[in-house]
Symmetry: D3
């Protein structure tokens, strides 16, 4: 029995509120249950130094958590003067995930920066961030298409992410915070709409796991991502 | 004529959504027009080292702006590795303002940290932060009272803040971003419900101002703060 | 009765020793009683990136306190690896104050950096810094005029600053350290020779204050600044 | 055809030189072909603050690369003043991997720090680090057992790691630098001697991959880790 | 011919103004010609962690240069966020030099921190710092003796320092800035009043030097330090 | 009697393994007894900003110590976020020493960076670094000569360094760690093959020393450097 009463393959309620802020080229507020992430996509008509002159674009991401997004207050990273290893790991993952569905040649020499800021945390903030970042990026690219700055859509497919884990011996989908902090294994899957995989990160916590468990977690992730793809479609009309 | 069409002494619409997040002891989302700030109050049953053993409490504040809260993206302070002078100046001001209405002896050896994070900016983020921080602090203290951890209310009064300035030669109330970036003088007033003043910061930008102008700006601030006190009362039932 | 025996509207002795160091284009050692600040004006024939190509100049300031300028030693900010919020707030104030009397177009694409280093502190270091910075800036500009690099004087007026506060219930002028650390309100006024105001920062400490008190403090500041303007005139022959 | 002429499931030559340095409680120099990592295990009879008083031990890791370990020189992280996101990600992975085979209760309130410093890099530095760290940790624990400070061996099993990837459309084992920088997918597997999995990190680069590819890569990793377990056994007599 | 017209073994005029600031336990303003350094000695009745519980004292030093102490402005180290290698090297040298004449057991568990801040620079700032630091330390210890906190003088002897160098092929004493920046070898000697040596740092710049040159430079340093010892005696009455 | 049983003028065994790593243009592993330093020379066809456009080259050095090179583990400087004063002092010394034998005009607009990383420490790491850096630089320059990128050898002579000190009252050569931490004076000499001196750093620790002692230490250093020059010649065929 899961603390939330959900079945093993049951997602929390997903909501995506597109165009949540007025300044960003694309944005949304995405919720996986009580986990709420504000994502903005900022477009710049230039690329970082290492990409210049190649005629290609770039997609990058940053991640932050408001100090009281969590149950007890965490010190502000800006005040501490550096981002934690966890923050950097997450923002690298978000960036890679979004780049996996973007055709950089079609995007042209532009950069899209995806800022994922966790307003409230209850497990799964990195997967909610990836899933919401696709929406913000999609809206920003739609704006470029609408303005005629792009004529061919550079986004190849949808990408979504979900966490799964082995909780009390059972593989379960979409861990909330209580499950996450007690899981024996914790896996994040980044999946593409066509069924392919962009990233698997499956980590043993306390007890190692076998190949069969890995495959069961992947199967759960496919169930969860189907829901997310539907929510993304609804939010963007794509 | 103001860009927004408002009259010189007209505030933007103020909304305060109390208890906006689930983890914090007190919180609200406050809006002054398109300026939106999420404020959380975090309570700790200990005080910082310099206050220990005095039997008194402490109130402090931190301030941040999401990278794309503004029209063009600002680099994330956590990524730059330090908070700007502006950020530090603002969070010092917020902390002083809230301390001016708190009886530290009655609060006891506890600390309240007010995190003010700007979700969307359109001028007046520091004054919205102060005004919202009072609400978050009020709710956190009400929780202590409800739980019987405090029996006497340590908050003496309401405190609110508003910006005024001289725009196109005319003193106006509650500057939005366009006015703020073109004002000849920019003043922030932190006022107490009984009419007293907690802080005046009145700065010439481009042209200096005379004593009469200072007084007119203060008069406008009184008008604006009356509205904010009403909104605070409505949000907290106090 | 003030600890120093001064009357409520009595300044400490002001001395300004112009051209205190040999390398700087302008400099002075300014004393407000036991508060001693060394100010240098450094001229560069270029402006910071955000000002380039506008045909205008820039004035900026930095502030520091020697570790043992105070009664007990403070750690060196260079050793701590960052400037405190207080330091940044003060240097921003000094810069703004000096810019309020400079015509940037007449100055041309040059930058003047005012370094204010407190040799000995006894209250009022920021106001002594502003008042001395005007002298250093004046001397540096006089050098440009003498060399024919400027033909029209870009400095419009004198600017000076003084602190006032409510000590033991009475508004007093030019707080020394003992008064400053016990004042109920602490106000810094930056005034222009023609009577206009460049900046007011009036902060409640412990007890809030009313409008009448604010006006009395401003009146005291006018008395103090008259003395400073005279000392500035004597030091520069202007 | 692989650039090195190896078959798809062929490892590079693995060598492990145990007790490479004289000061550390355990150490080795591990080579996967031209990739050479010096690993030391440092034992302290205390644990970090968050583990104190639980009667349990801790294992942590740090990772560094000498500036000219690579083909072109990288700036020294100590000189830049911070560790890159990549470095932090790797050292977190190494720590987790080694903790997965350590019984912390049996270890007791001690900390083992594994320093993995890359002397020469040619792909696979993180997997060589994990594989060598097991040897260094094993030797340090054997010392504790020999000295009678421990009577029951707290290390449950061997752990090893290897990278695999899809190079020119073919899944291959143990990527060298040329393959790594051109692979379409890059996976790191951390495996336990009993066949279980401690961690999978499988990342699409350029092209996403399907479930079958993931399983093939895992199969290759099992082949590679068998070789590494043998080398670990030879180096430690365990 | 030296640029200043001095003979090869001629010092600049040395002045030492003792008790230059009111807060420090000991202080002086020392000048070697146009080089002016303000030194304060701060006494604390505790020692740093690595010295605790040994019943011995500690002497340490910090060094800084005001931004416009030099001909062109240097960025403030506090603003850059770190002290340069040069600064750290100098403050380590000053600390070692002063410790060489202090009996730490007699001093007892106290720390003296010597802050050397260069007000104006014209070569030889580190040697002026050492020479002035002895005066400040002497005055602080005299205060302890006068107050009866010490009964036996822990300072064994005088220590002074001077730079010498090979300028235009000739060994010369007490380099000023022009000589220093053109010298072929630059040597700093820290000498004890009894003729012994606390430190030699002799560096080739451009051309290496032979043993005879080293000895000639040492001879010049003895001449210079005799002058400094006399000035120290005059300033302290010791 | 020295702890190692060596005579006063006896060096430890010196070994130099040239071309220790495959990527660097020049490299060696140098050992002075148990002190082992890996040095790489990295060549870049550009110079740092302050040297640009002069038609001259530059030689610089960086120094690091692996965390467990020493008897107890030191925190990693990259993790601490800054290099210690000691590290900076050492790398400045190494750079100066190597520059003293390089003709920058003949080298042309190229930079050689010498990275000295201590694998195992037992006293004398800075002098081993200098001595090994000459070998790595020599090999890198030989490569330039072999490739025809240079036709005239820009390295004028050999440079080597050794530490000497006064241990138990006796001047001894090549201090190991036990001697170094108990020596009354500690001197590092950087000598040129022709007998000239590039640098002397002779520091009193505990007891000051006289001129005769300085000369004896220099004599010992000449004996030690003769050995090192021979080892350098053997390693490079020069």
């Amino acid at each position: 029995m899961r603390p939330s009463g959900r079945t093993a393959d049951q997602m929390r309620i997903i909501t995506i509120e597109p165009a949540f802020t007025k300044h960003a080229e694309g944005s949304c507020l995405i919720s996986f249950g009580d986990t709420k992430v504000l994502v903005t996509a900022s477009l710049e008509e230039k690329v970082p130094p290492f990409m210049r002159g190649k005629g290609e674009g770039w997609v990058t991401a940053e991640y932050g958590m408001l100090p009281r997004a969590t149950n007890t207050r965490n010190n502000r990273e800006a005040a501490k003067g550096k981002q934690s290893g966890r923050t950097q790991e997450i923002q690298r993952l978000i960036g890679r995930s979004l780049r996996s569905v973007m055709d950089m040649k079609l995007l042209g020499e532009r950069q899209i920066t995806l800022d994922c800021d966790v307003i409230q945390a209850d497990g799964g903030t990195r997967t909610a961030s990836i899933s919401g970042a696709w929406v913000a990026m999609r809206l920003a690219v739609d704006k470029l298409l609408a303005e005629g700055k792009l004529t061919v859509d550079p986004i190849r497919q949808k990408v979504a992410a979900i966490s799964c884990g082995i909780y009390e011996g059972t593989p379960v989908l979409d861990l909330d915070y209580i499950e996450d902090s007690n899981a024996h294994a914790d896996a994040n899957f980044v999946l593409i709409e066509d069924g392919n995989i962009a990233e698997v990160q499956a980590t043993a916590e306390g007890a190692t796991y076998d190949e069969e468990a890995l495959l069961r977690l992947l199967r759960l992730a496919r169930i969860g991502c189907a829901d997310i793809f539907a929510a993304q479609a609804k939010a963007t009309g794509r």
